[in-house]
Symmetry: C2
Subunit: 141 residues, 2 copies
DNA sequence: GTACGTGCAAAGAATTTGCAGATAA
DNA sequence: TTATCTGCAAATTCTTTGCACGTAC
């Protein structure tokens, strides 16, 4: 599906800027923060402002077209993949990794929250990623 | 256990300020943010500074004596209860609720992260709490 | 033409830093 | 004494706001 139609499917008017931001999110699965998106897009769209990035991402989240991750307490990160999945933040390299979330996980996890109306579930892991674990081993030898 | 001994068990030197902050965390299960802790303790300790609250909480988290919650993107909240449990943030009243985490949840959730070294797991829910749901119903009738 | 979108500059707010004085072993 | 802790003030950084201009239907 083209990005324009994708935005429309979330009832978001596709402006040039919004298309650019969504395109970036859909092609960069790095869970970028505002600054990364801004820096990247600014190269080809010099007039693009950070305010617009803020506005756009807030709009995306409100319309369910993107996820805001609060796994990093420094700044918010954004994810264009809205399918349920978990996230792992490596405290060494600060990368965020996607992890699968088993089908029955959500159902089971809901058992304790009967009386609550749940809009969103986030499962965050923090620790050391395989890459950094490997590096640590090499440095020890 | 007295708070002094509790802090010592985490290898934290118990100063007057640290005891006060930990006492507050252990007796107020409201997942307070920095400002709440500061405002509350400032009444009885007028010289206590916000910087010290920041320093103290960072120390607690580093030593595993408290949890930092990133469920609210506005500011960090802190939890003196370090036993594994989930959190629910009500988007209406902004209260954070504790929820049980079934014993086998953690084991099962770890199955996808074999190659990772997991230090911390956080399960966050967002939505509407029972109290606010009740209020909404009343307002509709 | 009217509503909506964009972007600059300024404001606001949370957190960190530098450093000097206070405290404790 | 000597290292550690505290707290003020300033700096830094992320995010929001106000407002005027641009754009699109």
């Amino acid at each position: 599906m083209k990005t324009v139609e994708y935005l429309l499917s979330f009832n978001i008017k596709p402006s040039v800027q919004r298309i650019a931001v969504m395109d970036y999110l859909l092609t960069h699965k790095t869970h970028p923060n505002i600054d990364e998106i801004y820096s990247a897009l600014n190269k080809t769209m010099p007039t693009l402002s950070k305010t617009t990035i803020y506005n756009t991402l807030r709009l995306f989240v409100e319309h369910g077209a993107a996820l805001m991750l609060t796994i990093d307490d420094k700044y918010a990160c954004f994810d264009g993949d809205i399918h349920p999945h978990a996230h792992f933040l490596c405290s060494k390299c600060n990368k965020i990794y996607d992890l699968p979330l088993s089908e029955d996980f959500l159902e089971r996890s809901m058992q304790g929250v009967d009386e609550y109306k749940v809009d969103e579930v986030a499962l965050y892991y923090r620790g050391t990623c395989p890459n950094c674990l490997k590096k640590e081993k090499l440095n020890k030898n």
